[in-house]
């Protein structure tokens, strides 16, 4: 059965991708979407069997892969609780995104290719989560990277999309460098790349030391840190995050599936899968927590200033991933996975909702040109509303709440309970919960409330005046000139009437809304409660019952603080964007430098450009022109030629084309010399 779940999407991708010309558009879409729904239908029973406690871990070997001395690994599919959680997340969101794309991509001339990429991505992601050895995990890791590259650059005519695609791949490769070295080091230390064997042997290596690049380190610390660098790349953690916001160049369904719900969580999954290793390396755990908290904070601050609706959600994703990492760093892997699980539903919902808004607003993505949309697109509005309630963590402790309430509070409580650095992380998390509430409500208020500001949008003007627009004209909302056409309509609508999206797009929104509302309340016992959690996870990750106990017994103020800061954020957003709409502008004028710093994403891109990109090209040019041509050739072959020319005029003959004859004569001479030498020596 697991074989069908994993390989059906691959099969569908191949049929749709290679056979599109033969079978046509609609069959390609039916095959890929159908395959994903079948995979999804097969995945849920597996997950539920683990929820009810009847599921048993198993490993299915598919094919021998490589054996080289002790380094041996196969193509294997592992199913345990951790995998089962990922299976339902991946197949559910992917199936819904396939369905959604029927509507969203309807005008695109290249649909089979899009669907084939989506299915290919799903296959690679499933290979990643079913991996039983590090190398297959790396296969999936790179496979999703490829699919991400192809989908970000799906509209390959746009230079910005191409640039974003390359950036995503190359930045991820920086992380992969760490991942690969981590695998090599793990193999060196444990003599195997099989995950269960490594995890079993890891405690025995605690306290041992190893030399790495000349320095002497604690073995488990260095291995965990190298692997974590890989996780940082894939999960867009601070330092290696720069590709994620740019990845929004891809079509919105892609952002929902890859850059919110599944691929970017691969790093969290990896740390959880290898959690027994991290448990033996406290320093590495501290780093994971620190990086997670820092990313969480950084991304949330940037999100408060962006105008592009997708970029706000992208930074929000980055920030939420930070939450997951600091939970993992605190040793609360169950809580990290729980947030991954709920986040997949509400973040996919927010992205698909944003896509529906963009669809309705004729590819306009800038929230400055939205406003008052709740009546025109009510279903989208309510879906986004539920998503926002979920991400901001609305709920009453001890009673009920939306999905994010359970998972986020679980993380914060566990961080607090872990003590030490965890308390610092807790306070960072509280502040970020406030920011999350502010930027999420800001998005909702700017988009759905207030007065319509559509007339200033170029896209809307195009739509109103009936000009044709390329479906790939989704663009980043940076400050490019938006023509200001004063129009006859004084209500700011420019006479445009947004339409609710087609059914194929609304069904996924409704289904995901159900997830955003109930995923927390339905499963929080299994994921994070001490006894039920241990029975649920069955050792597939390092589940610390003591820590989870302690997390449940934190003081009441700890449980109520997240809700309080959420309410403050909501009030502030309401005050700034509904009640007193001139406030943000005044704030920006007052704190110009701070705003610029945040609006320009802490200037990471500019910094990297100066530090890495430009020097790489400059050094490359230097090596080529000055060293290869200017030194090696000049004093090597060219110098020798000049010497010959000066001395014997032989070069004249060389340059007039006799080189072959000359070469031939020289070779004959060599053979002659050899024969002569032999006769004399032997």
């Amino acid at each position: 059965m697991i074989q069908a779940i994993v390989f059906l999407p691959l099969l569908a991708a191949l049929v749709a991708g290679l056979g599109q010309r033969v079978i046509g558009n609609v069959p390609s879409k039916i095959i890929t979407t159908g395959a994903l729904f079948v995979s999804c239908a097969l995945s849920w029973p597996i997950f539920l069997s683990f929820v009810t406690g009847t599921g048993q871990p198993e490993v299915v070997t598919v094919l021998h892969w490589v054996s080289s001395g002790a380094l041996q690994f196969n193509w294997e599919l592992r199913v345990d609780t951790l995998t089962a959680v990922m299976l339902v997340v991946i197949t559910t969101v992917s199936a819904l995104v396939h369905l959604y794309s029927w509507g969203y991509m309807e005008e695109d001339p290249d649909q089979p290719r899009f669907f084939a990429y989506l299915s290919l991505f799903t296959f690679a992601m499933l290979m990643l989560v079913t991996a039983n050895n590090l190398v297959q995990m790396f296969f999936g890791w790179e496979g999703v990277g490829l699919a991400s590259y192809l989908l970000i650059g799906f509209w390959y005519k746009k230079p910005s999309a191409n640039a974003a695609a390359i950036k995503a791949f190359v930045v991820n490769r920086v992380g992969d460098l760490g991942f690969m070295l981590g695998i090599f080091g793990t193999f060196l230390v444990f003599g195997t790349v099989s995950i269960p064997e490594i995890l079993a042997a890891a405690p025995g290596m605690a306290g041992s030391t190893i030399t790495f690049m000349g320095g002497r380190f604690d073995t488990m610390t260095i291995l965990c840190l190298l692997l974590f660098i890989g996780a940082m790349g894939k999960s867009a953690q601070l330092g290696l995050h720069t590709w994620l916001p740019d990845a929004m160049e891809g079509p919105t369904p892609v952002s929902a599936l890859i850059h919110a719900a599944t691929m970017v969580t691969a790093g969290v999954f990896m740390v959880c899968r290898l959690s027994p290793m991290f448990e033996t390396a406290p320093v590495a755990q501290g780093v994971v927590m620190f990086v997670g908290a820092a990313t969480c904070f950084f991304a949330a601050t940037v999100a408060t200033t962006q105008w592009d609706i997708k970029r706000v959600i992208a930074y929000s994703t980055c920030s939420q991933l930070g939450y997951m990492f600091f939970a993992a760093g605190a040793g609360a892997y169950g809580a990290a996975m729980f947030h991954l699980f709920t986040h997949a539903f509400f973040k996919a919902l927010l992205f698909l909702g944003a896509g529906s808004v963009i669809h309705a607003m004729h590819h306009e993505q800038d929230m400055r040109y939205y406003g008052n949309l709740r009546k025109s697109i009510p279903i989208t509005f309510w879906a986004m509303m539920l998503g926002t309630l979920a991400i901001t963590g609305v709920g009453i402790a001890g009673v009920a709440g939306f999905a994010g309430f359970y998972s986020k509070d679980g993380i914060l409580e566990a961080a607090f309970a872990s003590g030490g650095g965890g308390v610092v992380a807790f306070w960072v998390g509280i502040f970020v919960a406030f920011l999350t509430s502010f930027y999420s409500w800001r998005l909702v208020f700017l988009t759905f409330y207030g007065k319509a500001r559509w007339e200033q949008s170029e896209h809307i003007q195009h739509a109103v005046h009936g000009e044709h627009e390329d479906p790939s004209a989704e663009h980043s909302g940076d400050d490019h000139a938006h023509a200001h056409h004063p129009d006859a309509h004084s209500d700011g609508t420019a006479g445009y009437h947004p339409h609710e999206s087609p059914l194929s797009m609304l069904i996924p929104l409704v289904v995901l809304s159900i997830g955003a509302v109930f995923a927390g309340i339905a499963f929080h016992h299994q994921f994070i409660y001490p006894e039920e959690g241990a029975a649920f996870w069955k050792g597939s990750l390092a589940f610390d019952e003591h820590l989870m106990h302690a997390a449940h017994e934190v003081p009441l103020w700890v449980k109520w603080t997240p809700f309080t800061v959420m309410a403050i954020g909501l009030f502030l957003a309401w005050n700034s964007y509904i009640r007193n709409t001139s406030l943000p502008a005044r704030f920006v004028a007052q704190f110009k430098l701070l705003h610029q710093f945040l609006y320009n994403k802490w200037y990471f891109d500019e910094l990297y450009n100066i530090l890495f990109v430009k020097p790489a090209f400059a050094i490359g040019r230097f090596f080529w022109k000055r060293v290869d041509e200017g030194t090696i050739d000049r004093f090597g072959p060219d110098g020798a030629a000049a010497l010959v020319q000066g001395g014997t005029r032989l070069a004249v003959r060389l340059q007039s084309g006799y080189v072959y004859g000359y070469a031939f004569v020289m070779l004959l001479g060599l053979v002659g010399l050899a024969s002569w030498a032999m006769v004399n020596f032997l």
Binding site: V66, S68, G69, A70, G143, L146, Y156, K157, I166, M180, L181, F184, G185, F187, M205, A206, G207, T209, T211, F212, M213, G214, T219, T280, P282, V283, Q285, V287, G329, G331, A417, G420, G421, G422, A425, H546, A550, A616, F617, I619, G620, W624, D628, I632, G636, P637, A640, A641, L654, Q655, V659, A663, L670, V671, L673, A674, S675, A677, F681, L682
Partner: protein, 519 residues
């Protein structure tokens, strides 16, 4: 099977066909060449099918002593040679097909040159006599000179001259070293020499002499500058065979001669190889990044890939060497395919300037797909041949030195950067130029060339066991031979105090350990 001198047959078929081509008309020459190379390919498959994995080290041996003077005609293959011969006979028919329409001038001579080249390549890998090897090894230059010099680009004289100067210097040193070896050991028989123990001080000199020659062939930094020029000037099929097989002769020399024959020197001088390889990976990758000529870019990337091979071989362990061998095979397939991809569009627009293209995904979707596949294989995406080789060799290198592994692994970042940058400029973007718009997609002949290459690149990535199994025993032999002189790796793993392992669980331990981590 045992009665058939299959290796001699494989040498003879192309040699005879070459003579026939010289006297046949243009069209017949093409057909003869294709037929002969296909026959050889079939013979190669027969040989592979009959190769006894785990059996004798040397198989299909033929021996005729003292044909003239000290020369013996001795042939035989082990698993490594078998795989490289398979690579040669697999690529050859594709090269002939690649030249089918592109070459219109002196077709008979051209086909003859390629067929001679095939004989020589098989000879290099099958020779069991040191002098016989040398003759084949050096003779390989002659047809390549002609191919570059007659059918090459505008600046072909310069390229051929550079190629010649570089190779000449190294060859003389290797020949002298061989003569010394023969004098010392009293035999030219390669299997005997493989187990002969040269005095350690002699080994160092012999090693250096061989290194000088083989490093040029490889090519290693800093004697690599002939390669970009040779590739740029060579016709498409010339580049395919140059990158596909000729570059492998250098690394074959490493694993066949330098490592097992001079084990002490190999252990001592491994840092020379590591040092040059590290420089090459970073240096040539950066240079590749700024190229505006497609063939030069791929040529520089070849130097970077071959640096992984040399470093992998000199890790002197099972993973490093097996990985290096797979990189050799993989690079043979993938770089040949990439050069053919360049050839496909060169045939249509007659320029290699990257900026002249753009937007090919629109009018050449099949081409775009193949080019993407080979780009990914070159980058080393798992599931393609590039990954298996790179991964194994880097794992092997890590066992020897984590620093070298780190520097070599940066190649995966830079490799992705320059290949994707190339791909983006050629295939993606808006299709605006009229002459580019007019380019048709792949024709059946081009399909017939790219499809087998793609199939092998994927086969080697998903199930490399087919290729690893025949070579495993040979690599084990080499590793065992090198074991006494191999320096220990730099990891120096030291066990911790057993007490530390017991801690780590339980809430109190958590709190305190995290505090230490964060502050």
């Amino acid at each position: 099977m045992s009665g058939l001198p299959i290796l001699s047959l494989m040498l003879a078929v192309p040699a005879i066909a070459a003579i026939a081509c010289l006297f046949a008309g243009d069209r017949n020459a093409r057909v003869i060449a294709l037929a002969a190379t296909l026959v050889n390919f079939v013979l190669g498959i027969v040989m592979w099918a009959n190769f006894d994995i785990g059996g004798a080290q040397w198989q299909f041996q033929e021996r005729h002593e003292g044909l003239f003077g000290p020369f013996n005609y001795a042939l035989g293959v082990d698993g490594m040679a078998l795989m490289l011969i398979m690579l040669s006979v697999f690529l050859m028919p594709l090269c002939i097909l690649a030249s089918w329409e592109a070459i219109t001038k002196r077709v008979g001579l051209y086909m003859a040159m390629f067929l001679v080249m095939e004989t020589i390549m098989i000879g290099v890998f099958a020779a069991q006599d040191l002098l016989l090897f040398y003759i084949f090894f050096e003779a390989g230059l002659i047809p390549m000179y002609f191919i570059i010099g007659i059918w090459g680009g505008a600046n072909r004289i310069y390229a051929a001259f550079k190629f010649f100067l570089y190779t000449l210097l190294g060859s003389v040193l290797m020949l002298i070293a061989m003569i010394v070896m023969i004098g010392e050991a009293g035999t030219t028989d390669i299997p005997t020499l493989l187990v002969y123990n040269f005095p350690p001080e002699t080994q160092t000199w012999l090693w250096l002499a061989f290194f000088a020659s083989l490093a040029v062939k490889m090519p290693m930094w800093p004697v690599h500058t002939w390669l970009p020029d040779a590739h740029v000037q060579a016709p498409t099929a010339g580049s395919m065979i140059l990158a596909g097989v000729l570059l492998k002769m250098g690394s074959y020399g490493f694993i066949r001669f330098m490592m097992p024959m001079f084990p002490d020197a190999s252990g001592q001088l491994m840092w020379v190889v590591f040092g040059l390889s590290m420089v090459a990976v970073v240096y040539t990758s950066l240079v590749a990044l700024v190229q505006s000529d497609m063939k030069k870019l791929i040529a520089y990337s070849s130097v970077a890939h071959m640096a992984i091979v040399t470093a992998g071989l000199y890790a002197l362990n099972q993973q490093g060497i097996e990985g290096a061998l797979i990189v050799m095979l993989s690079h043979g397939v993938v770089s040949a395919a990439l050069f053919f991809c360049v050839g496909v569009i060169y045939d249509r627009l007659h320029t290699r300037e990257i900026d002249r293209y753009g937007g090919l995904a629109v009018n050449m979707p099949a081409y775009a797909l193949f080019f993407m596949l080979f780009t990914m294989a070159s980058i080393g995406l798992p599931g393609t041949s590039g990954f298996v080789g790179e991964f194994l060799s880097l794992a092997g290198i890590y066992e020897a030195s984590s620093t070298v592994a780190f520097v070599c692994t940066t190649g995966i970042i830079l490799g992705a950067a320059y290949m994707l940058y190339l791909y983006r400029r050629v295939v993606f973007g808006e299709l605006i130029k009229d002459d580019v718009k007019a380019m048709p997609d792949l024709n059946p002949r081009e399909w017939a060339i790219l499809a087998p290459l793609a199939a092998v690149a994927l086969w080697m990535g998903v199930y490399p066991e087919s290729f690893l199994a025949p070579m495993r025993g040979d690599v084990t032999t080499v590793v065992a031979r090198l074991a006494p002189s191999k320096p220990a790796g730099d990891a120096h793993l030291a066990a911790g105090k057993p007490k530390a392992a017991a801690a780590g669980h339980g809430a109190p331990a958590h709190g305190s350990s995290h505090a230490g981590g964060v502050q």
